[in-house]
Symmetry: C2
Subunit: 503 residues, 2 copies
């Protein structure tokens, strides 16, 4: 039987991993998920909150062990992983709270709105959700990450397809979560994990699966989008994919080039460049010495380990492809390229490359993401050229502009341009780091995601796993609890006064 | 040059129609639309309200002429069309009001939510929208229907692809609307209409078009979904398509069979059965005489004209295909089938067909929509069998259950089953007739629509044409008006107290 081996990025050695789930067992997991759905959907948000909190508690109790397993499998380092585990449990509690707060239900009651009948509308959970977590955030975007927690909070059972980059961590998290959920009284089948590529395909094809959430590469996301579209009944696929996130330094930013160069390098090398919000392209005013400052900064940094052998190889090939396409490697090119081969495991060195504005032609290979600690620097002549260059890029998850402060007149036009092509616009900050907050948007137009209207982080993440249903003339006892007269879920704003006024 | 001829359903004769828009002119229309977008998006909701109201006023002033043109081209009858025109202008004003009310912007302000920076989020208009209106509601779902008005209210310019079933009406509406918008101060390119199949394809392929809204057949909708997915940058397609909408009579409904049979026939023959919410399948308790009662009622009805020759042919073939697949024609079979050929123009007769429960196998041709005044009747043994039969159907836009009143115990389980597979569930009412109200949901899971999370009617219809963007640390003057401190758009609920508490 095939297995997902547990690879050690620091050495390249593989340990025993997890066997792939046999097809019949994948279907059995969906059977249990579908059987659990009515109870999960009907559970009060307070009850679902207790389930998620039990999971968060169990993960925190096992934190030391989980962080060790995660570090073995990811080489992301214990401090980073400990912090990430803490954020993951915080997020689980956040989604539990958002679920209980109830805005996501969007309940609306309009007496007499429809041909003389009472009309009520709510977002109802869609059914079992298949989650494909990411490799680069084994806690926050992994087995128990944003997608899993927001789906459970919205009343949908989850079947996770374990990421092959961390089979032992996925198994440990799955075991903990299943036990905690059972202990907390959640129905069997509320949450399960399957292993293997084939298992993932069976999940996506299963007619009981009602939505798919994915975080990862464009290639992986597009494959799922296409597969789900070929189902007899296509279902929504929320794929959050990697992009080249641009950063613009305004002309006035030349007063603090050294500080900004250091901040840029910090941001694009964070986690060995394995962030979907990594700033991949810096647009800097010509003649301010930015390329040299960035190169000097990169030269002081050490390399790191990529998550998998494939990711490391793709990074090395990507840096070479950028040069083949005309980019000039600025930072210690010989050391960096030679060093790739010399170091142990999946080690790579950071790289910064320089382009001319003319190189940034729409459709150029230079505009595609190079996952890992590589970034491009382009100098622009004036602000109109900078705006023009931004317009040639693919849409992205995020984009930043850094200037000379709140009075910098060039910030506003860059913000407006970025807002037209990114999910999040940051001023005087770097795109890496996504806060889990009500007002967060982690998404963006194609190819940043397959669903530009959705976010995979924040309060609105629950909405992805719901579908609106209107009830016309239904007696109270035939309504879901969210719409019953007694408002047993204590949902807010079900009957805004203005609703009647304009109907 | 090719033209869309203006056909007269009552006679089958074609009059002069409208020439197809040349490819260069389609692109020029999108050029103007893209050029108008920044001003349309930045216009205050109050200003956009005045544009929509100007359009509504202009249409009302020209009502007599428009209704005559529409009746010539659709044979839907002047009373129905006059009522529909009134609803269309009411809807235009409704969307203008919803736009100004501002919930659709979903503005959220969270000081300090993101890595110490202020975080603000709003739904921003996506860009020019292509609208493909329906044939069956030339006013409410046509050139100036729900899609066009909700897109304009949300700040998106619209390019309509005129429906070939009513070229003269589309042209008249376009001319009126363009003049009214110009008079009201809307930028050139805010609204335009193109003609011809090829023009529609050019629209969908144009990189400036940011979303597509469609109302019509499954074949047409799926073709647009697939075409948009093949773009270099795929865009959302909101296709609202036809389905078999089920109606269940509970066992206790046998006490009023005659009344319900008449209501059912009224509903499925309304507008010669050309409603996307037409009840296509009646599930009735065995032994209550429902098939005979429905057949007797149908026998008293006259035929009507279909919108186009193609639709009339598809209906005749559909009724034959249902019989080939095992359905038994109940209502005056000889007269109905023979009459199809004998009458003038695109005339058809209503038809009711009977099936056994065993005929309703998943995937059967019997489960596909037959657009026009045809319906199926199936008798069930008991309520569990009725629920099982519902589960074999494709999801639908709407579904009804009619019983013996609010105390009927069988209503609730049927409502629950319908809610799992329909966008709207009606109790003791018929599915035809969609109120334009805040709590309305006009949509449903695939294949009812391509986007089960969306509605094409009601307050939430605006959201389809927006995309969330988060602004992190942006100075006030770089923010869109919706998120500025002074709240110039006077949007509600931008800073709910609870937002900070759980972040």
């Amino acid at each position: 039987m095939s297995t997902d081996l547990s690879h050690r990025p620091r050495t390249g050695v593989a340990a025993a991993g997890r066997p792939h789930t046999p097809p019949a067992s994948v279907t059995a997991a969906v059977d249990r998920s579908a059987a659990a759905f009515p109870e999960v959907a009907a559970a009060t948000p307070a009850r679902r909150r207790s389930w998620l909190e039990a999971v968060a508690d169990a993960v925190e109790e096992a934190a030391d062990r989980l962080v060790r397993i995660a570090d073995d499998e990811s080489a992301l380092g214990e401090p980073r992983l400990r912090g990430e585990l803490g954020k993951m449990t915080q997020n689980a509690r956040y989604y539990a709270g958002v679920g209980e707060r109830g805005e996501w239900v969007r309940a609306r009651i309009q007496p007499g709105a429809a041909v003389g009948q009472d009309l009520r509308r709510a977002q109802l959970p869609v059914g079992p959700v298949a989650v494909f977590g990411a490799s680069n955030f084994p806690f926050q975007f992994g087995t128990l990450g944003h997608d899993t927690c927001s789906a459970l909070a919205a009343g949908c059972p989850v079947v996770v397809k374990a990421h092959p980059a961390h089979p032992l961590l996925s198994a440990a998290l799955a075991e903990l979560a299943e036990a905690a959920l059972a202990e907390a009284g959640a129905p069997a089948g509320t949450f399960s994990v399957v292993v293997g590529f084939e298992a993932g395909l069976i999940l996506v094809d299963d007619p009981r699966i009602s939505a798919v959430a994915f975080t990862g590469s464009q290639r992986g996301g597009l494959a799922l989008v296409e597969r789900a579209a070929r189902r007899e009944r296509p279902i929504p696929v929320f794929a959050e994919m990697g992009t080249v996130n641009p950063v613009v330094l305004t002309p006035a930013a030349r007063s603090r080039v050294a500080e900004l160069a250091a901040g840029f390098v910090d941001s694009f090398t964070l986690g060995t460049g394995q962030f979907c919000t990594k700033p991949g392209l810096l647009l800097a005013p010509r003649g301010a010495g930015v390329p040299d400052a960035v190169a000097a900064e990169v030269a002081t940094r050490s390399g790191g380990w990529m998550l998998t052998e494939g990711i490391a190889r793709a990074y090395r090939e990507g840096v070479e492809a950028l040069q083949d396409a005309g980019a000039q490697l600025l930072a210690s090119p010989t050391d960096a390229i030679a060093g790739f081969e010399a170091r142990a495991g999946y080690a790579v060195m950071p790289a910064v490359l320089r382009l001319t504005a003319a190189d940034l032609a729409p459709g150029s290979r230079l505009l595609e993401e190079c996952f890992g600690p590589a970034a491009l620097v382009v100098e622009y002549r004036d602000l109109p050229e900078a705006l023009d260059l931004l317009g040639r890029l693919q849409p992205s998850l995020a984009g930043s502009v850094l200037g000379s402060g709140p009075e910098d007149p060039d910030v506003a036009p860059v913000v407006a341009r970025l807002a037209a092509q990114a999910g999040r616009v940051i001023v005087d900050g770097w795109p890496t780091g996504v806060a889990c907050a009500d007002a967060m948007q982690h998404g963006g137009p194609w190819p940043a995601t397959s669903r530009p209207d959705a976010t995979s982080v924040g309060a609105e993440a629950l909405g992805r796993f719901t579908r609106p249903v209107a009830f016309q003339g239904a007696p109270d006892r035939a309504l879901p609890p969210a719409l019953q007269d007694a408002n047993p879920w204590r949902l807010p704003d079900r009957s805004p006064e203005r609703a009647g006024a304009t109907a």
